[in-house]
């Protein structure tokens, strides 16, 4: 309940300041437009369009998801948070906020993608949906803990994608594979190994994040 209250505070703050939503919306629009312009009238392969989807998602996440902790640090309110809640509550609240933001972001990107790219055709929707949900969760968990790590650094903007890339790489590679399977119409049973990797990634990142956060949060 305390974590949910923190999420509500962040959500109301976001609605008023639009710190992350504006950055995300602009980034999504610009990136998809650039891809559309660069492709022109050419028809790209189905697998390439699936790959580009996750490239857009990765870089969009890098543009807005650090907000959770960076905005608190920039406004000087980190101390206030430290004084009112336990570290686990703070991480949970920020995680809920990022999970919702990632899902909203990914739904918008995937919807725009399916409208604008003819070659983006999914044969097995259930498999894509499963990969999409587990992948979004993984991106949200990793982005939240990395945001906490970089929030105290002086060059936050540069550090965030640099630190995120090696951590998100196994997740993105698995998601690329699963998107390809979903486009080829492969069944969920046949994609079990890749799905198990996604579940393991989410569980490991979540556990590691809660264990690490105490040390990151306290100076």
């Amino acid at each position: 309940m305390k974590a949910f209250s923190l999420f509500l505070k962040d959500w109301q703050s976001e609605v008023r300041t639009r710190y992350a939503i504006n950055a995300l919306a602009m980034f999504i629009l610009v990136t998809i437009s650039v891809i559309l312009f660069s492709i022109g009238s050419e028809r790209i392969s189905t697998h390439l369009s699936g790959g580009l989807l996750w490239v857009v998602i990765f870089f969009s996440a890098m543009s807005g998801l650090s907000r959770a902790f960076v905005s608190e640090e920039e406004r000087g309110t980190t101390l206030t948070l430290q004084l009112i809640a336990a570290p686990a509550t703070i991480f949970s609240g920020k995680l809920v906020f990022n999970v919702i933001l990632v899902f909203l972001m990914n739904v918008v990107i995937a919807s725009l993608y399916s409208l604008l790219f003819e070659s983006f055709v999914i044969e097995n929707h259930a498999l894509f949906l499963l990969a999409f949900v587990l992948g979004s969760l993984g991106i949200a968990i990793s982005s939240t803990i990395i945001a906490a790590i970089i929030s105290k650094a002086s060059s936050k903007g540069t550090l965030y994608p640099v630190l995120s890339f090696p951590i998100l790489l196994p997740l993105i590679l698995t998601l690329l594979q699963l998107t390809k399977f979903a486009m080829d119409g492969k069944s969920i049973e046949a994609s079990f190994a890749e799905l198990a990797v996604l579940v393991s990634y989410d569980v490991i990142m979540l556990t590691a994040s809660y264990l690490l956060f105490d040390f990151i949060w306290k100076d």
Binding site: M1, K2, S5, L6, L8, K9, Q12, S13, R16, T17, R75, G76, T77, L79, T80, Q82, L83, I84, A85, A86, P87, A88, T89, G93, K218, D219
Partner: protein, 215 residues
């Protein structure tokens, strides 16, 4: 009165190679107002941050006890009220919204009458629905007092509490300290003589520094 005890056990803090203070051993008990003094850069803010559990000491430990039971670090925030010039509340919310959100995150009930009385006491009730970004620095300092008191903490830590306050604000502050000092443990870190005059005991951080060149 809840019996609250704070023990500093051989507390040392260094930043890199710079020693801030060395081997502080002290016990604080509820029902008293203690002062922490020392020149600028002597480590007053560092010491109060360590006591509040915001930063870790280099050596030694801080033990908080409420009614004879050690307070675990995860629960410490509910026992401590903290005011400092570097504490910032949320500018995009009004005073009322800030206090309500903070109560919810703390997991304590928000009592409208109590908060209204506190706001009235600090002459902020009329501006309770205004965004904090429209407040003056003195008004922001006053709202921090309500932030520190709203959860009825047993340990009140005040770092330069009268900075930005006008004479009326200071008068309110002295009245609050007088009342809080009777039932709770109050620590004041300040250089203001008037602030330190409220304290029954004082620690001078200069006494916890090694001689020049020793370390």
């Amino acid at each position: 009165m809840i019996d609250y005890k704070l023990k500093l056990d051989k507390l040392t803090k260094t930043f890199g190679r710079r020693l801030i203070f060395d081997n502080i051993e002290y016990e604080f008990h509820s029902g008293n107002v203690y002062g922490i003094s020392g020149p600028n850069g002597s480590g007053k803010s560092t010491l109060v941050k360590i006591i509040a559990g915001l930063i870790s000491p280099t050596q030694g430990k801080v033990i908080h006890e409420s009614e004879g039971k050690v307070v675990v670090e995860e629960k410490l925030h509910n026992h401590v009220g903290f005011i400092s010039p570097y504490l910032v509340l949320y500018d995009e919310f009004s005073a009322w919204e800030n206090l309500k959100l903070i109560s919810d995150i703390r997991g304590i009930s928000f009592k409208d009458e109590k908060i209204a009385a506190l706001l009235e006491n600090f002459n902020l009730y009329g501006r309770r629905n205004d965004m904090l970004k429209t407040y003056s620095s003195g008004m922001k300092q006053r709202i921090k007092f309500i932030f520190a008191l709203q959860h009825e903490p047993q340990l009140l830590i005040l770092d330069e509490p009268t900075s930005n306050l006008d004479d009326e604000g200071k008068e309110k502050f002295y009245n609050i300290i007088e009342n809080e000092g009777k039932k709770n443990l109050v620590l004041i870190a300040s250089n203001e003589k008037a602030d330190l005059a409220l304290c029954s005991e004082k620690i001078n951080l200069n006494d916890y520094k090694p001689e020049q060149g020793k370390k």
